[in-house]
Symmetry: C2
Subunit: 123 residues, 2 copies
């Protein structure tokens, strides 16, 4: 069986920010991880990192520009909420390849099985 994989990226609507690029930065992945458990203000997020608050603020901006984070104002505070469903493009992209590597592992497994049988016959 052959699995054909189409280059879906070409079909995508141009976003201001690319979600693949957004999650490329480890700090931004950590921010996503933090927000998975709870909504946090920008300052609360920043407290978890060694970099400056404006640096964190900019990371959050990038995440919000590709929809992974939405911000709602509450007084002078801004609460960051994760929108995990906007990671879907990445999940879909990866999913094609999961099929591919599972096929690979299956065929490797059956290769090992054959090898075992062969060795048994050789004994």
């Amino acid at each position: 069986m052959v699995t054909y994989i189409f280059v879906t990226n070409r079909l995508h609507i141009r976003m201001r920010r690319d979600v693949f690029q957004a999650i490329a930065d480890p700090v931004r992945r950590d921010i996503i991880g933090l927000l998975a458990n709870q909504e946090l203000t920008v300052n609360s997020v920043a407290e978890n990192f060694d970099i400056s608050r404006p640096a964190v603020s900019n990371h959050i901006k990038i995440l919000s520009e590709c929809g992974i984070v939405v911000i709602h104002k509450k007084g002078r505070e801004r609460y960051c909420q994760i929108q995990p469903q906007n990671l879907l493009p990445v999940a879909e992209w990866i999913e094609q390849y999961r099929k591919l590597w599972e096929e690979k592992l299956d065929s490797f497994e059956s290769y090992l099985m054959k090898l075992q049988t062969k060795n048994k016959n050789d004994e």
Copy 2:
């Protein structure tokens, strides 16, 4: 029946390149897409892009540095083969959030259901 699972990333083969960063570039994602269907030489890969051959060569190098692509020499040609299982760290990372957004969608769905029932009662 034995299932062999290779979590190569966990075996602490220190990778120079981060796989998240590797797939951040659209050209590299396209290269992965090309190689999913077939093994290709460096030049054959390069033919599919508008950028120069050395530029493609460098992208392939980056992909090979994080294990997504392996290269085997055959005469003067170098065949690039995809190792999709090395995308697993990304798949695992995404998977946590899939659970999160499915919960979100579920609760939204049940919210809609309640709304529908309510509207029916209001009629």
